[in-house]
Subunit: 502 residues, 2 copies
């Protein structure tokens, strides 16, 4: 088992994987001071003022000369002016495009997008139609005609807590509208039935808009009040689904370039390993997908707060960098008006664990996004139109952040977890990545991939990233994830509720 | 069919039920001007400065002399200073206690409270355990041991959208804690299994506290991360429920005084009839229950805004009246900091429909609460300890308001609706009351009671109120409501999310 790890070839610090004493040797470096597990080691002599790099990224600068093999922490590094400079677009270095064309077996939709699953959805405008949407989906899945379908994965009721008792014109309303519209248009659906109550604030005609809700027109809507109650709505809803299922069933898997994959990246229940195993390995996989022309989405704005400089430098333009800063300012206002505050600084516990600066702490989350240029910044649930690595604003709260990514168009979710999260997000498969082998063994029936072997199995980040990339293709092509097999996805639709409940 | 209605014997105005022309006679009054449907008629000569009473309550004062039979509206009445005076406790007139003792057949709990149903609940601390709670409940209900139980109504999974991605110390956190604790202690549960993920902000030990979660001790808890994943947690959860079901099954229905009924009153999807049929009829039923020593809960603070004077006068003390005003001030801040505003003034459409002042508009909602003194004012989901008519703060949004009432201890919900709401709220039965016969016929399979016959069947408010009171007793004793028979209650648990999602 290795006793230290170098997260990027450019790094001038390594990370101790166990408590090290002076004289210990690791990766060709001989310790000159004690270095506790999780803490940083200078892997060469560093001169005062020089930048400190972890994951190849600047986390601060040396405040004094640091000899090779010495402990690097709050006593000899600090945030530099450079580290706090947005330096818009200064480090947007395009990745070398892949030469080998790769495909997955997916569902091609009329609008050109590609699904990795083929579900029918029963979407709701308001909580008050949530139970009826469930009844419709349950009833339809019991029918003989449903069982005879070959290409439809299931019928997903999408119930939520909102849609009424809210302003009909503010930011919260606009956010819920985008979220519901985004679900209706997610390529993992082969058809959408929208069910409302009738008297809710969020009215179905406003939601549907003047355009077509879905490019394939496989869309119906009804309200319980118009149809005349629960039983009749269930009956009519099941009839509608039966007709819609024929259209959905005509979609079949075909080879599609992996450039059509749109992967929502997520971490939840993080631990001390997240930032050195699963997240950087996902960063490698993200870069690979970007090299193949695909799209990866980083989110969780509250977890990158204070370290937005890491991303503004990778922005493809000043404008894109500024969009991120605009979201950061919005968040400061959002939390302040809710009597909270943004604070992502390393806590005393973080510091004991070896995290020195806010940049370094946030890097644990940002590492998921690899090194590709940031092509654009999107609002929560805003349709993603650019290829490559992008950012979508969201809370760090997992089910809410994933809900936004799916509404934005994600057709695959990758979720790293240290403590063990067991959620699933129909209609989109979610690959669960364990950060450590102990949790992986403890919760093996819920985890799709272990990255703990980067620590205890001598597997390189590069190899693990490639393994993860291959898993993306398998799952996108229909391989069933653990959370899908277990039946998850019935409780995890969590639109971001912004604004007062009235 | 009557052409006008007098909502209270003390009223000096009647309400036209159809468009009336001069010369038309109704309730002994001859029209001297045209009066449109829904508008007010002076039922005797009113002198300038005199208060105008509807539902026996002051809605404004005459700005000029008004002859009998004349139209009463914005041109001849206005809000008086008197109408805008809190007059704390000035009109708290105790009702005459009932002489006849009435009982229902309910489940007596060890803490003295009474259930109207006997469910087992699978409560969740966080969205991340919501699906697992559902799996546990579904699996248990399929088991032979469950089917053999005689006295357990079912197993209710209680999933929600929150519990993490939030501050661990603010008002939103405290509100969610009260809500979950309140559900665990609701007398309609005979036992509670609490399932968490493990790493969430809302930690199970904090939720359980140092006391006993339930007086009968029929309570277990577990986290998915500790147990080791989904399958094992489902297995262990079902085992726990099997043991808990034995204790729950030992509860049996027995005669219990109706003074143990705690009824959450609610209106949703209101129409022009709500304020003249269902709501005042519910007011009669509320008074009857209070006369029998029971408890009724009025809520929906946003819908009484601007008319809080109606309730402060009925407060039993200055302190109780002031508690309501404190909540009103809190709401002003809550909406302002969320960039909204409180505005319950009659809209142009309301005015065209005949509503003149904010007091009159709010009376449509407040009428549900009858005339009894207001014994206390509670926070959302705060345990209700007083008997009689009380107020619990909540948004007007139905599923959220009902969630608070159930957490506060309601064992029965009565829900008036004009447009037709079809929700249900396990573990508590919900009586749906239609405000008009047209909707009742259109949605008869969802409605438990029609009050439209107050308009079109010559039924008095007093008789309809008594009919409703008798229905309370039947449903409390086990008669199945429409929404229960249809299986509602799986999507309607909506805690009030206050604060930023992080
Ligand atoms: Ca995270
Ligand atoms: Ca997180
Ligand atoms: Ca997260
Ligand atoms: Ca209402
Ligand atoms: Ca309501």
């Amino acid at each position: 088992m290795p006793i230290s790890i170098r997260l990027n070839p450019d790094d001038n610090v390594d990370i101790a994987l166990t408590d090290l004493l002076p004289g210990a040797e690791a990766l060709g470096v001989t310790m000159t001071t004690p270095v506790a597990r999780g803490h940083k080691i200078a892997n060469r002599a560093i001169t005062a003022g020089e930048n400190i790099r972890r994951y190849g990224q600047i986390i601060g600068a040396a405040t004094q000369d640091i000899p090779a093999g010495a402990h690097v922490h709050v006593h000899n590094i600090a945030m530099s002016d450079h580290a706090q400079d947005y330096a818009f677009a200064a480090e947007a270095r395009p990745l070398v495009p892949a030469t080998q064309a790769r495909t997955f077996m997916g569902f091609r939709r009329p609008d050109g997008k590609a699904g990795t699953r083929n579900y029918l959805g029963v979407l709701t405008s308001v909580n008050c139609s949530g139970s009826v949407a469930r009844f419709i989906a349950e009833e339809a899945e019991k029918a003989d005609w449903f069982k005879a379908l070959g290409n439809v994965d299931g019928i997903v009721p999408i119930a939520h807590a909102s849609g009424c008792g809210m302003s009909g014109s503010d930011e919260g309303y606009a956010t819920l509208m985008r979220t519901l519209q985004g679900y209706a248009q997610n390529p993992n659906f082969g058809g959408i039935l929208l069910v409302g109550l009738g008297c809710e604030v969020l009215q179905i005609p406003d939601l549907v808009g003047r355009g077509r809700m879905r490019a394939d027109n496989n869309f119906r809507h009804m309200t319980i009040q118009q149809v005349g109650g629960t039983r009749k709505t269930v009956e009519r809803g099941v009839e509608a689904l039966r007709e819609m299922a024929e259209i959905a069933n005509a979609y079949a898997r075909e080879p599609i370039p992996v450039s059509e994959l749109v992967i929502g990246m997520q971490c939840g229940g993080s631990d001390g390993y997240s930032g050195i195993t699963a997240n950087p390995a996902l960063g490698v996989a993200s870069d690979l997908l970007v090299q193949h022309g695909g799209t990866t989405i980083l989110s969780e704005t509250s977890e990158i707060y204070g370290a937005e400089h890491l991303l503004t430098r990778r922005a493809v333009s000043v404008e894109v960098g500024q969009k991120l800063i605009d979201r950061i300012r919005w968040w400061e206002d959002y939390t302040a008006r809710n009597k909270g505050e943004m604070n992502n600084n390393p806590s005393p516990g973080n510091k004991r664990g070896g995290l020195t600066t806010i940049l370094e702490k946030s890097l644990g989350a940002v590492a998921k996004g690899g090194t590709a240029p940031m092509q654009d910044v999107y609002l929560f649930a805003e349709p993603i139109t650019k290829k490559g690595f992008v950012f979508m604003d969201s809370p760090g709260y997992d089910p809410c952040s994933v809900t936004g990514q799916i509404a934005s168009g994600a057709n695959l979710i990758v979720f790293t977890t240290g403590r063990g999260s067991v959620s699933g997000y129909k209609p989109v498969p979610c690959i669960k990545v364990a950060t450590n082998s102990e949790m992986f063994r403890h919760m093996e029936e819920d985890m799709d991939l272990n990255t703990g072997d980067i620590i205890d199995g001598g597997v390189s980040l590069a190899d693990k990233g490639r393994e993860m990339f291959e898993l993306f293709i398998k799952v996108a092509s229909g391989e069933v994830t653990k959370s899908e097999a277990l039946g998850f996805g019935g409780a995890e639709f969590v639109p971001w509720q912004i604004g007062a409940v009235m």
